[in-house]
Symmetry: C2
Subunit: 407 residues, 2 copies
């Protein structure tokens, strides 16, 4: 087990230049400021494809595209890093085709940073007849039933072919609620797989990709802490928290973050996977999370639900029929060139442009929310910012850091 430390530090503390596993020089995590009133952090992640200002939200490019959004429009939303799905791309068009087309950046036409997940979540949520053992997973493709296998080494290999900037370890994802024994078994298997992923990735000596660990442990704070400690001992350049936002109460998610985050090194990025609603993002930032991804803004957009500072709107509602106002007065997105009445018409008439514009608006909304969060953190007023937003959305503060539960 790799136990060296100090290889991935806040820039000012980078002293051991000779350590062999230092992240490639193009990667650097600068922790710039921590909010005076919360654990919210303002940081910058530098990668070979440019920098990401954090807290950051990554739009999900499942199959190498945010559904319905061209890459130019995606850049205009303010997104600086996107997530793409290893499972989906390995099935279609196949990682070798992506590699033959120049890797994921060239394939998508996205020159900024890209993170790929490991495929684990989709294998457990989408694939059919999944069988798991210590070696890995065998499953049948959800598209054509082809028998496939995914192991920690194979996941690293696929992500290397895709040539993302940030790869994720393969973890054993299980549904919640589940028995404590099953959660513990999946958690410790995930730790062992993380170590195999790390070894496979080190063997490749890549300079242009880093690998992040994923803390599992269900809703058990002790198991989360133990898992985090074991992964931190492996000395990854960053840590994700997985297995949340899978149906549990928001308060349970926040409590789990409160147990887990303090175990993670201050000088590495922290990524909460698959989360979430705007209020989840702010509550998680307050608890020290730096990165997010979620299909919610695009999936909801496709279903005519759009975000505003006054809470979400359902565009199919007849109340919008002759409403001349844009979704948000000060929003620069292409949807906000139009009236709510026009956008409603697009959904009523089943025009593709409805889902397209609502997706772009929601992604823009999330990016503007992250921008607001970053500005609030450096001004030491993140808690005030969070309260303003929650109040506008009509959402109670879900749970304070001291444990008292709102709403």
């Amino acid at each position: 087990m790799q136990t060296e430390s100090g290889k991935w530090k806040v820039e000012s503390r980078l002293t051991k230049a000779s350590v062999c596993r230092s992240p490639p020089s193009a990667f650097r995590f600068d922790l710039k400021h921590t909010d005076a009133g919360s654990a919210a952090r303002r940081s910058t992640l530098h990668t070979p494809h440019g920098s990401v200002e954090m807290p950051a939200f990554m739009p999900v490019c499942t199959l190498g595209t945010v559904k319905g959004v061209d890459i130019g429009r995606l850049g205009e939303t303010g997104a600086q890093m996107v997530l793409s799905n290893t499972y989906h791309l390995a099935l279609r068009p196949g990682e070798e085709t992506v590699a033959a087309l120049g890797g994921l950046h060239k394939f998508m036409g996205w020159s900024d940073p890209i993170l790929t997940d490991s495929g684990g979540f989709q294998v457990f949520s989408l694939a059919q007849r999944t069988k798991i053992d210590e070696q890995g997973v065998t499953f049948r493709s959800h598209i054509d039933g082809t028998l496939l296998e995914l192991s920690p080494e194979r996941s690293v290999s696929i992500q290397a072919a895709l040539a993302s900037d940030i790869a994720m370890v393969l973890d054993h994802v299980i549904g919640l609620p589940n028995s404590p024994e099953a959660v513990a078994e999946a958690t410790w298997r995930s730790v062992r797989w993380a170590e195999r992923c790390l070894k496979a990735q080190m063997a490749s000596s890549r300079e242009d990709q880093i690998l992040l660990a994923i803390v599992q442990g269900g809703l058990d704070p002790d198991l989360r802490r133990q898992c985090a400690k074991a992964l931190v001992a492996l000395d990854f350049p960053g840590y994700a928290i997985g297995g949340l936002s899978v149906g549990e109460e928001p308060a349970d998610m926040y409590r789990t973050l409160e147990a887990t985050v303090p175990e993670l090194p201050v000088d590495r990025p922290r990524y909460l996977m698959g989360v979430g609603r705007p209020e989840d993002l702010l509550e998680s930032i307050a608890r020290g999370i730096d990165m997010f991804d979620c299909v919610m803004p695009t999936r909801n957009g496709r279903n005519a639900l759009v975000y505003t500072d006054q809470g979400p709107l359902r565009l199919r509602n007849a109340a919008h029929e002759v409403n001349n106002r844009p979704l948000e007065e000060n929003c620069p997105c292409p949807a906000c060139r139009h009236s709510r009445g026009y956008l409603r018409h697009l959904f009523q008439a089943k025009e593709m442009l409805g889902p397209i514009l609502a997706s772009i608006h929601n992604l823009t909304y999330y990016q503007r929310l992250m921008l607001g969060a970053r500005e609030a953190i450096v001004a030491d007023r993140f808690d005030e910012f969070r309260q303003e937003k929650l109040c506008g959305w009509g959402v109670g503060r879900m749970q304070s850091r001291s444990g008292t539960q709102g709403k």
Copy 2:
């Protein structure tokens, strides 16, 4: 019958300033140049919402949007005027809703010129249980079966509410082939309806909308000529040719143009409705047509067929799987930021972005073709330009102006 003349002239000939039916001053048709070797014309149509350089191609915004293309991207294709469908908008969301949302320009977010058709074509092609008499048409909505009526006066009224720059007369469209009697009856009814549309439009004293006539007559050159003469006597500010590209041989369409165009005044725009393939555009420009609209570039784009100077490509073809080239090396459109392999992947994976990008590429291709035509006309080399394009596409010259039929 209105028989005054000289109200809509080439700018240099505008002498009768006091004529009551002069097009509003914001409308002007400048015929700038006629190609030395063909009837191709280079002109500019001025409207209250700006100018249109002609020959021009209008993308079709059926329900107030080009399917899948946001209005900013549409502008980037080079389109200067768009067509929107009266029938579709009257059904959804209804012209009163469009008017309440500020008219079609504000509704769509398009500040350049808009032409609306009359609804006639859709009533005859889409509506159910259509009954026609001299008064107008009754039919049932193709959406919900509601009983509706369309008359010349109602069509003008709907288009006034939509507030397009250019409205079209309601015509009686019939399928081809059909009996000579049926074609003649529909043609002369169309002329009577055109006169009723003109009276209705004059009664409204609109300064911001002009009404164009539509020449019918099937494939009968004599009937076409008679219809054109009758409509020209009514002194419209521009003339369309309808009822073509409905399944007839291209050579028949070109012969019909050759019979009809010489009857139309030189000093007014000529619009060939619903046409067509790139080669149809060039052949029709050579015969004196100034304006076109067609769903072909977008409908084909949605079905993975894209246009290039080497002829159309079917993107689903396996040959494109690992092709790193863009569709066209010198095309500035967002699709051409990507490889053919990526675009094929989008279609194979049924991603919305495939139809979106292919539509934008095809619209850009059509606009670049019109730009090339305009440049060739002013250089008196339109015929050479046409030959180059037809040769690149692998298409024979369909029929010369002298009547010898190619291919």
